[in-house]
């Protein structure tokens, strides 16, 4: 079935101050209407003042998405009425976006990027005592009004949820590598355009976060499929994503179609994107995920797929490089990419949300690297670190007597003893029940208090059993 999906993604840039005024963008202050001033409140007489850093950050993104720059830019006013709009017009870039005609390379196809532009965020509405449809009033908080947004509009080139997921995780990694987006403080909101089998396009607006995009597309695709199945025509419309229910709902149809009546923003000036300006941005471009991947292959000699996975996660990549300075890169790669991330995922955490003592993590990996602890013990240490426990890995290992049985002779004796003491298991194994080896391995582990390296035990057991 032919599926066409296009995305309009709004990313909050991580500047210190808002796009057109000096109010803080820090969302930590949860009290409403505190980060406000005459400009972002649209008080009569106030005027906008363009934040240079926001422009530079947007230019970095446009470069990373292979867009072309215009010679000069001039902002626009987009007029529409809504209670979260302090001026009932939004200062945006309509005629002249900061970047256009770019692209993003997925594993198997290229996604067209139609435009990248900057605009101001509106305020936030709370539907008092109900939902958007049932509330009697709105409560308005203008802290968010004026925060710089970078909007990315893709071509409708996605044909599956998987492609969208791949794109979005790559985009997030790119945004973090560019140092223009802070996932703890900034939001990503998307409008999704979906059509199936060449039918009408449905727009799902204001989907918050990445997981929600996945859910919204899933729901909408099945809704449209069902409509077609029962012979109904899909209406071209705008829908709203209800995150709690996981459904899309039709918004009230408007009596009059919105005409944004664009004019140029006369309180701001032309900005020339000179050769010098652009080359200065290019010179100071941080390393992008794909470039970093390539460097990892050369520098750390890890595999392409390992490098790819690590670079998809900015914090992981940063952590990996710091750890790889002190511990073997391949070991670091395996343990951070699979074990650490696995433990975090199991506890519904991420590198962003968990506060792991990095020094101790490195210590634990060093103990493993030097052969002093088993993989099992190392995992134990990592779990404790993720739990935020305060302890010293080296001391803990000594206290709990977790030092690996490294002495070959000692281990050999324990293995042979286990074989001697468990004749039934041995004969089971010899008669074809291969799982009996696990029982024997378990006995060895018991005897060593878990301090033998499982892999080595299994290997030696196999050798000895086969020679019996």
């Amino acid at each position: 079935m032919k599926v066409k999906i296009g995305l309009e993604i709004h990313v909050q840039l991580n500047t210190k101050s808002k796009l057109f005024c000096s109010c803080s963008t820090n969302s930590e202050n949860s009290k409403p209407n505190k980060n406000i001033c005459p400009t972002c409140m649209g008080l009569p007489g106030s005027k906008p003042a363009l934040n240079k850093e926001a422009l530079k950050k947007a230019m970095r993104l446009a470069l990373a998405l292979n867009c072309s720059f215009p010679k000069a830019i001039f902002f626009s006013r987009k007029s529409y009425f809504y209670p979260d709009m302090p001026k009932n017009f939004q200062i945006t870039q309509y005629e002249i976006p900061i970047g256009k005609n770019g692209s993003y390379q997925l594993k198997n196809k290229k996604i067209g990027i139609w435009r990248v532009h900057i605009e101001e965020d509106p305020g936030k509405l709370i539907h008092k005592g109900g939902t958007i449809k049932t509330a009697q009033n709105v409560l308005i908080d203008y802290n968010r009004a004026g925060i710089p947004l970078c909007e990315i509009v893709t071509a409708p080139d996605f044909s599956s949820i998987e492609e969208v997921k791949e794109f979005l995780s790559g985009l997030i990694s790119t945004l973090e590598h560019l140092r223009i987006y802070d996932p703890l403080n900034g939001s990503i909101r998307s409008d999704i355009n979906i059509s199936i089998m060449g039918g009408s396009r449905v727009e799902v607006k204001n989907v918050n976060g990445i997981k929600a995009v996945e859910h919204a597309i899933k729901y909408e695709l099945s809704r449209q499929k069902n409509m077609v199945k029962i012979g109904k025509k899909i209406k071209m419309e705008t829908r709203h994503f209800d995150a709690d229910m996981g459904t899309t709902v039709s918004l009230r149809t408007k009596e009059t179609e919105e005409d944004y009546g664009y004019i140029f923003e006369p309180d701001l000036t032309w900005i020339d994107l000179t050769k010098e300006f652009i080359s200065d941005i290019k010179k100071n471009m941080p390393e992008l995920p794909k470039e970093r991947e390539k460097r990892f292959l050369k520098q750390y000699k890890i595999s392409r797929s390992e490098a790819s996975v690590i670079c998809m996660n900015f914090r992981l990549a940063e952590l990996f490089e710091r750890v790889a300075k002190q511990v073997d890169a391949k070991l670091a790669s395996k343990w951070l990419r699979t074990v650490l991330i696995g433990v975090l995922a199991y506890k519904n955490l991420s590198l962003r949300t968990a506060h792991i003592d990095e020094k101790k993590l490195i210590k634990a990996l060093k103990l493993l690297e030097s052969g002093e602890i088993t993989e099992k013990t190392c995992k134990e240490l990592i779990i404790k670190l993720v739990n935020g426990e305060k302890f010293d890995p080296a001391n803990y290992v000594v206290e709990k007597r977790l030092k690996k049985v490294a002495d070959k002779k000692e281990l050999e004796k324990v293995i042979k003893d286990a074989l001697k003491e468990n004749k039934k298991a041995v004969s089971d194994y010899k008669s074809g029940q291969k799982e009996a080896i696990h029982y024997l391995a378990g006995q060895v582990m018991k005897k060593t208090g878990g301090r033998a390296e499982m892999r080595i035990v299994m290997e030696r057991l196999k050798e000895l059993l086969n020679s019996i």
């Binding site: 101050s17 109010c23 406000i36 008080l43 709105v138 919105e258 005409d259 000036t269």
Partner: protein, 95 residues
Amino acid sequence: MKKIITKDDVKHISDLARINLTEKELMKFSSEFVEILDAFRIIDEVDVKDVEPSFHPLNIRNVFRDDNVKIFSADDILSNAKKKEKGFILGPKVG
């Protein structure tokens, strides 16, 4: 360019601008607009081929602000809003 601007046109535009006009006002405005737009039409005579639009009378370019934070006393602003609740501004529903 549109030759005649009808009463329905005026109604449509006034809706866009969130202004309610009485029937009397609609009639008055639509007849006035005919006259006004007719007078404005004279700019069609001007040859504007290859002419750049001027967004300002003077060529002011490349003005920016640095990314610094300044605090403004929010209370002075909020005191102008008559309907507030727990620090939020109370507004009309959108549903």
